[in-house]
Symmetry: C2
């Protein structure tokens, strides 16, 4: 048996080794400024033992919106691009779609007619492309699509169009004992197949909108989970705090979003007791990414921007605060678009 002194010596040396191995700047893609300082100050406050703001690791819950906060959401939500490609691929088996809205609009790239079909049209597209198969077959279809689809402007796999500064923030928070949770209006079954590989966020820490899933005895007697064409839960707006309560059961102490769909999550996060942090990614960089806010079709940021001003939330100005937007393709090529 090792002596107590020996064990202590090892523990001390190990701690020194960890301390020495830490990089000088855990957020190298962030320019120095108010946003970066607000984040690192907050983390220092809640992780310093013996101070009033200290938060035990079990309570260090950080939630992140996905579309527009962790990856690109222009010229349309990535999941909508996926659904459109699925409609095209499935169209030969559905000849009626050529003359039936909202399918006709998508097949003819008539965005005006598709927009006119509204929420109902979107639901019809989702039902046709996201249901009637096992959860595992759907996950495979997502992986296959990500491996081949390319963003129309950047000509890169969608899962390489993630924000490098936010990847660093996720890793920085986890290194400081946080659990990093994705809370997105996107479909949970669309996100889980790739988020662990791309963000380091495992499936059980991904919250999203969902359709009804039923348990059935499969044809071969093996049970299966089948995705049904019925919406179960919309994880957007007031649904976000509800979803966080349902899945996590704890109020976050830090939350990041970029649109009005994140407003209630940020309100819920910041009105709990103790130290709290709310951040918004403001898309201000038409050159490197996109510039949009109050009038955007996807990711509209209006009420939440006003709330940020009055509540003192941190607004990240993409153009000013980020040294780079996307990871270099060489760095991400090894994993981007690939199966795990």
């Amino acid at each position: 048996m090792m002596s107590r002194f020996g064990a202590m010596l090892i523990a001390c040396l190990a701690a020194i080794s960890v301390a020495m191995a830490q990089p000088a700047d855990p957020l190298p893609s962030w320019n120095d400024g108010a946003a970066k300082k607000a984040m690192t100050d907050f983390v220092a406050r809640v992780t310093t033992q013996g101070t009033p703001d200290f938060v035990p690791t079990s309570e260090r819950i950080a939630t992140f919106d996905n579309d527009g906060t962790l990856w690109v959401e222009q010229p349309m939500y990535v999941q909508l691009a996926f659904a459109i490609d699925r409609v095209k691929a499935m169209a030969p088996q559905h000849p009626d779609w050529a003359t039936r809205q909202p399918f006709k609009a998508l097949l003819q790239h008539d965005t005006g007619a598709f927009a006119a079909s509204g929420q109902k049209g979107l639901m019809q597209i989702m039902a046709a492309t996201h249901a009637g198969m096992t959860t595992e077959a759907f996950a495979d279809s997502v992986r296959d699509w990500l491996a081949s689809a390319r963003h129309p402007r950047f000509d890169r796999p969608y899962d390489s169009l993630v924000y490098q500064p936010m990847l660093e923030l996720l890793a920085y928070l986890r290194a400081n004992g946080f659990k990093t949770i994705v809370v997105s209006g996107g479909g949970v079954e669309f996100m889980r197949p790739w988020m662990e590989r791309v963000y380091g966020v495992p499936p059980e820490q991904v919250i999203g909108s969902s359709g009804v899933v039923t348990f059935q005895a499969g044809a071969n007697g093996r049970p299966e989970l089948i995705k049904e064409a019925k919406v179960e839960f919309i994880d957007d707006g007031p649904g976000k705090p509800v979803g966080i309560n349902r899945f996590i059961g704890r109020r976050p102490i830090l939350a990041f979003g970029n649109s009005d769909g994140d407003l209630q999550m940020l309100q819920w996060t910041t009105t709990g007791p103790g130290a709290r942090f709310a951040g918004l990614v403001h898309h201000t960089d038409a050159e490197r990414e996109y510039a949009y806010d109050r009038n955007a079709k996807f990711g509209r940021l209006d009420k939440a921007l006003d709330a940020a001003a009055s509540a003192g939330w941190t607004v990240v100005d993409m153009k000013r605060d980020w040294k780079v937007v996307f990871p270099s393709l060489t760095a991400s090529a090894a994993t981007a678009g690939g199966k795990p």
Copy 2:
């Protein structure tokens, strides 16, 4: 900066130190026998790198039923005892309950009349006692009740009537890289306030039945989550694999239950590819706990017992396999029934 040799030396010494500190038997409350051997053999198989059965830690998901699997469920589900006590406490504010079923039956301890009110009666009780308040106020009421309520036979706090051998199994699995998830027909908001303290299972790894929760602006302008008197999800029977898919997004490789409500979870767990383990706690010990199976009112074990026999699942015989059932009260008194 420490030399590479120094760092390696420390890592090696630390590993030796950990190995030496491991107890000879991680499951000391289990008698040697087929059940214990099946569990330790399974864990050895899936954690030995370079073998065909090896499972990476991210996929090591273990799910456990709660009532009758981790804690006592006789003479009635603990949550029902909680609901009855709440009906009694709330009765003065509801004079009509004295003459109105199913409340009258509960207040008069008329179990026959209450049973006759069926699922509908149970839902009325749940709606009256589990709704119309914030999620945080409800969690407080659960903690307060656990601190004062006592089991009618054992005269101990309910959260000290957990199964010591199963506590050891949970810890043993976690020490081997598993995530241990509770998947219960019980209410998720009833379980989360105490399971981290008692089982070491944090709220986000607790799946259960749930009522609708809505996001509202509170009276003071601070947002609140309000529990509504409407069932949202029943996490029982076929609902268990559906709940696991919804909350965890991965098929477990190990699952433990004790009743027919766990059948589909065990089927779902064992029909995935690779090494799989399914276990049932069989209550065979009327002296130390209870003896019941095919005819039980709570925790009926009938179809799942037949399925275990034909599929070769591990059936734990409480009387034969467990050296002790409950933790000694002195050992658990420090935490049992207390607020965290």
